[in-house]
């Protein structure tokens, strides 16, 4: 009996162990090993930290690294600012059918692939695109307006891609906020701002933190949107990783980049949790 229960337990655990082992732990160890070797000549390699040294000293790589981090944080903040009112409306103000429809509307863009979504933005924003034509038609512009290929377009794409992942956790936490708690806030003399600051935001904190973590990770790891909407000056760290691995065949530097990104995202997530005084356990639980 005991032996059977033990086998059952191991079998139940197997998918998790396989998933963790084969897809996460082993590839990361392998990546790490690749990142610390240096090519001497055809098929000859030596262990060294030269790629990390290169990654940390080459101004372009460092610039891209920080730029990606700062832009991802910015995208997260903008997403939060836009998603919060949307989530509040869905969770607290919309009722019944409208609520479901609005929620579905947030979801619909994700029925199509990210590539198609990004192309959608390109159709809207390009020089011969819809918005440019509308502006000319309305007399607000006297020549075609190019809105693509800059950081603003990239930001729009990133925020759009991330919206749902911020709205869902926010709606869930805000729905659990009792209406009468908000009313009590007003009743006892609170203004809209103070009720938001002292009651709604503290209540929504778990949703805000988990939403921000997800959106930040998604933005940091996004490849398509920055490349397609960002244009000639767009620099995204994932693009550099892709370039090193695929275009340059320089797996060693690419792996070093990958590890830097892993460390960066871990540090920023940790900082976010510290800043809001939460533990990972609380946020995930």
């Amino acid at each position: 009996m005991r032996a059977q229960a033990r086998i059952g337990f191991i079998l139940l655990l197997m998918p998790l162990i396989l998933w963790l082992g084969l897809l996460i732990i082993i590839p990361h160890i392998d990546m790490f090993l690749i990142s610390i070797r240096e090519r001497i000549s055809f098929g000859v390699y030596e262990t060294s930290l030269t790629h990390y040294q290169k990654a940390l000293t080459e101004p372009l790589y460092l610039r891209t690294f920080w730029r990606t981090a700062v832009m991802s944080v910015l995208a997260t903040v903008i997403t939060l600012l836009i998603a919060f009112p949307v989530a509040y409306y869905i969770a607290k103000m919309a009722r019944g059918r409208l609520q479901q429809v609005l929620f579905l509307l947030c979801l619909i863009p994700f029925y199509v692939s990210e590539l198609v979504r990004t192309f959608g933005w390109m159709i809207l924003l390009r020089e011969t695109g819809i918005i440019s034509h509308l502006l000319q038609w309305a007399g607000l512009a006297d020549q075609p307006v190019e809105m693509l290929y800059n950081d603003a377009a990239m930001m729009v794409g990133l925020v759009y891609t991330s919206m749902l992942f911020m709205v869902v956790p926010l709606v869930t936490t805000l729905e659990s906020l009792d209406d009468s708690v908000v009313e009590a806030g007003y009743d006892l003399g609170g203004t809209g701002l103070s009720v938001l600051r002292e009651i709604i935001i503290p209540h929504a904190m778990p949703g805000i933190v988990s939403g921000c973590i997800v959106v930040f990770m998604l933005s940091l790891g996004n490849y398509l949107t920055p490349t397609m909407l960002g244009g000639k000056d767009s620099l995204w760290f994932t693009e550099m990783i892709y370039n090193q691995f695929i275009v340059r065949s320089n797996w060693e530097l690419g792996a070093a980049f990958g590890f830097m990104l892993l460390v960066l995202s871990s540090v920023i997530v940790w900082g976010m949790l510290r800043l809001t005084g939460r533990t990972l356990q609380e946020t995930l639980g």
Binding site: P27, G43, Y61, E146, Y149, T227, K232, M240
Partner: protein, 353 residues
Amino acid sequence: MTRTILLTGTLLAGLTTVAQADTLRLLTWGGYAPDDVIELFEEQTGHTVEVTKSNNEEMIAKLRATGGGGFDLAQPSQDRIMGPQMEFGIYKPIDVSKLDQDLFIPSMLDATMANTTVNGDVYGVPHVWGTSGLVMNTAEAGDIVKDYTDLCDPAVAGKVSYRLKRPTLIGFAFSMGEDPFAAYDDEAKYTEIMEKVEAKLIECKANVKTYWGGGDELMNLVRSGEVTASMAWDTGGWKLNDDNSDITFVAPASGALGWIDTFVLPAKGQADDVAYEWINFVMQPEIAAKITAAAGNFTASAGADEFAEDALKAKYQASFPQEAIDNIKWYPPVPAGLEIIEGDVLDRVQAAN
């Protein structure tokens, strides 16, 4: 080295193929294996063909990740065979005797075999060839843009595009009067040339609307008129020519860059015989003509010209007068290490303001 990746790769490859050895897993470019050709082949031979579309860099990266497994036949360009083979050993020698050599244009077969020989073994035979040069709207930019460097002319500011990849570096180098191919074996000289190209590309950056990434993206830019001149493949220009007769491919004054896509056998391919069958099949003139129709480029098949569409031949002749054909710069094999130099240059151009 990458033992675990190799291990999982082989495992996966093993799982998917052992059962059905008469499946040909083909790693190729879009258009090189059109559906009607596959149907004919499957009908005639009873084999099955699975196609994965890709490009040079991804083909090599994929084969490298699996140590040359997962595919039975691949089609990288001829200049990308020697280096990766020496570095990673991802291909296996081709037994040319199993091929019907009469089907190939002899000069092209000889040149490709010479360029892909490592330690006395031949690793590649030619399939499709073409050039890259300038695609432009001749009505708007024809008078200004004659060569790659003319893309930096203020008269076309904000209306030009090119890729941020090695063909651009090579093209600009030629157009600036250098010969980068001659400097392939001289790293110092090559670095010097690339530094000049880098300065030019940074200076030119303000002129560029965007660096295009994929063929479809470029086609959209040119078709919509947002871009009037761009560095691109010949087929792109000829396809756009169908929609707008002003747009076409122009061979630059310093010479178009010629490439040949090949057939290679991945090191762990498991259906070599089917692969040979496929090569012999698609090199037949009638079949090669079908591929030319789908891909837009001519093949190394001898006599396929007879079966090619007249319209395509006309476009080809318009773009390539005899002196332009003689001026085509064929890519020699890329020695390992050059791509690191080029990569750094491209990074710096991308980062420049």
